[in-house]
């Protein structure tokens, strides 16, 4: 049953992070609201990927695919933003 408890805990953490994002948006953080939102979104994505998608226990190949995706996204975003 401990696995079910673990998944439930992950689920509650995700909901707490959502509450944090929505809650933080009602405070003016002087331009840091968007950055905080993106950090929380990245944290949620990382939690979903490692816990629900089992990225941490799935061997090297899935992690390689994720790293390749990250590399290509970095090229896409990096070169576009540099060229502005």
């Amino acid at each position: 049953m401990s696995d079910i408890r673990k998944l439930t805990f992950v689920y509650l953490v995700l909901l707490a992070l959502l509450a944090l994002t929505v809650g933080s948006s009602s405070f003016d953080l002087g331009g840091f609201n968007s950055a905080l939102n993106l950090v929380i979104a990245a944290a949620k994505a990382a939690i979903i990927a490692t816990m629900f998608m089992q990225l941490s226990s799935g061997g090297i190949l899935p992690r390689l695919a994720v790293a390749a995706t990250g590399l290509w996204l970095a090229i896409l975003f990096g070169l576009t933003l540099i060229g502005r």
């Binding site: 079910i4 695919a65 576009t80």
Partner: protein
């Protein structure tokens, strides 16, 4: 065919599973490039027309957007349970979890449809040739915001519909499938479903929470 592999290409189930999972992750990577490109367009526009985008964002319904995020996170939880139960051979529980996942996907689409209806009524839906009547500042760039909003939310919804159709198809063919093939399918659709959830995790703050 091997004793417990589905394809003759693999001699061991573990290798087949590794290949399945790797292929799904490469597919997810290609999907991330698709969503990444449109997110990049949004990011550039957001940097260029910040005030117009912030004002336009306030016309979206934060309560409905938040509720939909809860629904989608819950559906991912339910999908993770389907996988867990399947792994333990508890197929009845796994089936119900899968059905709940698809049902929550439908709830998400229903709430999204209600939001779209409100936005069409308000005249802030610059799609399908509907007249755009926006009374806030900088309507030209606000229209760009709503155009991107509809494009991104709809692209996401299309992915969700795809997931629901696949789950429905799996459940229809459930009784005729072997246990190992059921588990294989749950694993694959699970990865896809969680990815669609991750996309929404990013779309929600960038669309709904600009300078609230």
């Amino acid at each position: 065919m091997g004793a417990s592999t589905e394809s003759v290409a693999f001699d061991k189930p573990a290798r087949e599973q590794a290949a399945d999972t790797f292929a799904m992750w490469i597919f997810i990577g290609s999907e991330a490039m698709l969503f990444g490109a449109i997110l990049l367009v949004f990011l550039i526009a957001r940097i260029s027309y910040g005030p117009a985008f912030a004002a336009a964002s306030h016309h979206l319904s934060l309560p409905l957007g938040t509720l939909n995020t809860v629904v989608l996170i819950t559906s991912s939880f339910s999908m993770a349970l389907a996988h867990l139960f399947g792994n333990r051979g508890r197929w009845r529980a796994s089936t119900w979890s899968l059905a709940a996942t698809a049902l929550l996907g439908l709830v998400f689409l229903g709430i999204k449809a209600a939001e779209y209806t409100m936005e069409f009524r308000e005249g802030i839906a610059p799609v399908l040739g509907v007249p755009f009547t926006y009374d806030g500042p900088d309507p030209v760039h606000a229209e760009f915001f709503f155009g991107l909003y509809f494009a991104m939310a709809s692209l996401h919804a299309v992915h969700l519909i795809g997931g629901i159709v696949v789950i429905a198809g799996m459940l229809v063919m459930w009784s005729s499938a072997t246990q190992s093939s059921r588990l294989r399918r749950v694993r694959a659709i699970g990865l896809y479903w969680h990815f669609v959830d991750i996309v929404w995790v990013f779309l929600f703050p960038i669309l709904y929470l600009i300078n609230r």
